[in-house]
Assembly symmetry: C2
Homo-oligomer: 524 residues x 2
């Protein structure tokens, strides 16, 4: 049995928010220029081991990719003397946008109730690179781009990944993605074939299940407790794997994990739990797909509506975060999917993956002939905000602000639940990260519990709640597969999407719904 | 044998650049709101036949898609009374962008040599919808979106499609895409299975071949002449299809076509040619994937460096365009892929497909669990420019400008070829659309032609040309498959990507390369 061979400590080194940057060469700044995330690492990886080899895990689709002939030919353009009559790449003269101006939110007044508007503006024209005013401009950002994204914004991503996760193996790399949903789809096509099974939490992100299903890939639900996935349950499924019980599926080699603020249950795996799961992954040689959009929305424990312990510095904030799987990844078995959707904007459709070079190389080849790069304007707006304007420290201050806001919102919904929900029917564990509060309904107290299934009662409550004007998510939507029994009733609520008074009103309506459905005589 | 049942005339009606718009309801304007392209058609389709049924053509992957549970639930939010605690959708309060300002190019001075800078600015904040100043704003554009895109920009796309192509069947719809490369990948996954063959021009877009290959889908090259694909060759391949000669592949049901400014050969199918190909498609019941990014880059014939006939009005411009396959599509057998990459910017990663509702519905379900929507800022910038600022007429004026520019560039490269290339070795047909000039090299005049293959000589010339500083594309890169014999030597050049003096210099260098390689004694 394998083990985490080097004990990874929580932040033995102080996070360095001002790493010494690596330069971007003139050739790497150009239109559709090739670059590698490797070159932007600020720390040496020489003392680290190489990742395991994953080629036997790759699908036929993935191994047969030859990549893009045209994008390969573009490497000759790194010689500035070479004139390209090769690619059908339009000149920026014919782009009908002369300038883009962004007005970002100010970091100065984030903690005051009254948010004063920022006077800062961030500018981009077609000539900023030529003029020497910026390393990135509209002539490059609005043109074609390599599938892995531009060198300009990739540098920030690599530095950020190093500051936050500092993967303990040498050959890690990054590639931009058009979001975690797409990244997951592409990872599945790389690592599975029809008939395969993927391991996941018993209740998991429904969109991930729906992405896998048409590929002939089935999720297998692992039991959970208040810290999410149970390592013993994971180990048992793998130890006792019998293909005959799973339509002749081979033993799974992929684990899908949402370790922080899990969707839908809101659970967060502790550091100990992560280490235990990683050990099981080592024992059975699993690849872990770490889907972690809520990583920065970690909160203090809920304490009777008065949590919100103060965090005073960006470094203190970072050191409070539970280490990711990537930070534990001595073997190079984690493909981490990072998202800006919950911490900047979802509409950029820009995220990134971090994984061993072998896997990133396959991913990039797939991007080149499918999604291509994230939109250039998305890359540009993030570059302007995160690289040129805020830097890593400013971004961390923004994340501190979000932590405070989401903590306040979590406190608000939990306190509304306490006030409006009948506790003998509805119960919950206050969530510690992310956007979701999971509610359990004791359906067996329903007057018709003997005649109706839990699933029918779940739907009845859901529809009744909509008719009173409160839309929740049903627990059954999130089952890893139809094999997860429908013997419990849960609802997923979010404290992210509505203004506070509306959240209160919706919880109140849901409480009324529960009372009406469970105590029909009183209501009629 | 089928036939084009209603004769489609070239523009029997005058194109109407100011159609009477259909409204977008308040609910359809909201975050991740559902909408259908159907509702934005300005003309009645009642008199038109329904599309054929294509369900038997769909792959198992595609037919087994159930779509996104969470996005389905969002339909309940069309009732403004319902408060959502359902989706993990962040509030725009937490988007760190307060305003986006775009300065577009001015349409006024396009024809003067001196382009004066536009003073117009296009603004978007988070509150424009609430303030009533716009139907689209940052609160919506920067948030999540349905896979098919926002209603706001979809309306413009549907109107544009109706003005340009007015499909002659009733149930056509549109969905936005993240570009034609991704759309083609998704269409293949919808319509083919491993082992299938897809029909295409003998020389075709290499990225399309490379997208198909890892899916186990092979291209079959159809012979071409100066108008592109030959209908008789297409018919013969299908008539004489013998699975045993194609690794037991079933008879192809998909035709991949680049009808205008074909990549790489630059050929454009005439209206007559399109009708003839469509008839063969009817006879063998093919679906046509019409990949048409160069549609608006149609030019007048090259006449000794003095083409550039004047076009005086937007309507005149539109009426000069060769009708698309979509415009001929009485059966609903065309999936047309439209791109902004060559006429606005490539970096938006935003295009759209038009096809029968059955196929669009499957496409949308796939988007919802993979690429999701195009980036919101891309949608917003196109909406601001094309819908709120230029309108259909202004956009057409922009396209007229591009026609003029690309005609001038085509004239320039052809005239450079005439001056610098040895005509007894290199020959060409001046291209009439798009970005590419295809050059044929009579390799048999090479001094080592008896000992070397055409492919070796092609590579030798290519490398020699790079060493002199001119990068071209090799013809063999674009072969539909390895079955297309390497008995000719071609190069693809583009007149789109480099400034004019550089194009001249590169053609000159290529001419020197040819002379050096073909007449080594004179050089040494």
């Amino acid at each position: 049995m394998g083990s985490v061979s080097r004990e990874v400590d929580e932040w033995t080194e102080e996070p360095n928010l001002h790493p010494k940057r690596r330069p971007i060469s003139a050739a790497q700044r150009g239109v559709a220029a090739t670059s590698s995330s490797e070159q932007f690492k600020t720390k040496s990886c020489k003392h680290k081991p190489e990742a395991r080899r994953w080629h036997p895990y790759m699908s036929t689709e993935s191994t047969s990719r030859t990549g893009s002939t045209l994008k390969n030919a573009a490497k000759h353009l790194s010689n500035p003397e070479v004139i390209s009559l090769g690619g059908g790449i339009p000149l920026s003269d014919y782009f009908p946008f002369e300038e883009v101006i962004l007005r970002p939110s100010s970091l100065d007044n984030l903690n005051d109730g009254e948010k004063t508007s920022s006077q800062t503006t961030l500018h981009a024209t077609k000539h900023d690179i030529a003029d020497g005013t910026s390393e990135y401009d509209l002539s490059v950002a609005l043109n074609y781009c390599q599938g892995s994204g531009s060198a300009q914004f990739m540098r920030w991503i690599v530095e950020h990944t190093e500051i936050l996760h500092d993967p303990p193996y040498a050959d890690w790399q990054c590639s931009m993605t058009v979001g975690n949903t797409s990244a997951f789809d592409m990872c599945l096509r790389m690592l599975t074939k029809p008939g395969d099974c993927v391991l996941a939490d018993k209740y998991t992100y429904s969109s991930a299940v729906e992405t896998a299903m048409p590929l002939g890939v089935k999720f297998i639900g692992v039991d959970m407790d208040r810290e999410g996935m149970l390592p013993d349950s994971l180990d048992e499924i793998l130890e006792t794997w019998n293909p005959e019980k799973h339509n002749n599926a081979r033993k799974p080699s992929v684990l899908y994990a949402i370790p922080t603020g899990q969707n839908p249950t809101g659970t967060t795996q502790s550091f100990q739990r992560r280490k235990a799961i990683y050990k099981v992954a080592q024992k059975h040689n699993l690849i872990i797909l770490e889907d972690d959009p809520y990583y920065f929305l970690q909160m203090d424990e809920y304490v009777d509506g008065a949590s919100a312990s103060e965090i005073h510095s960006p470094v203190e904030f970072l050191k409070k975060l539970v280490p990711s799987y990537l930070r534990l990844d001595v073997d190079g078995r984690v493909m981490r999917m990072d998202s800006f959707s919950k911490v900047i904007i979802p509409g950029a459709r820009l995220g990134w993956i971090t994984a061993p070079e072998q896997l990133i190389e396959r991913y990039k080849r797939h991007s080149d002939v499918s999604t291509q790069s994230p939109a250039g304007l998305s890359q540009l707006m993030f570059f302007k905000l995160l690289d040129e304007h805020w830097g890593h420290e400013g971004y961390t201050r923004w994340l501190m602000h979000l932590r405070k806001q989401y903590t306040m919102r979590r406190d608000f919904i939990v306190s509304a639940c306490e006030r409006y929900l009948p506790k003998h029917i509805v119960s919950w564990e206050p969530t510690n990260a992310g956007m979701f509060q999971w509610l359990k309904v004791d359906w067996e107290q329903h007057p018709d519990a003997k005649d109706k299934t839990a699933e029918l009662i779940e739907e009845e409550i859901w529809l009744e709640s909509i008719s009173t004007g409160a839309l929740l998510g049903c627990g059954t939507w999130f089952r890893a597969s139809k094999d997860v029994p429908c013997n419990e009733v849960f609802y997923r609520t979010t404290f992210a999407a509505a203004p506070l008074p509306k959240i209160e009103e919706a919880v109140k309506r849901f409480g009324e719904t529960i009372r009406k459905v469970f105590e029909p005589k009183e209501e009629n």
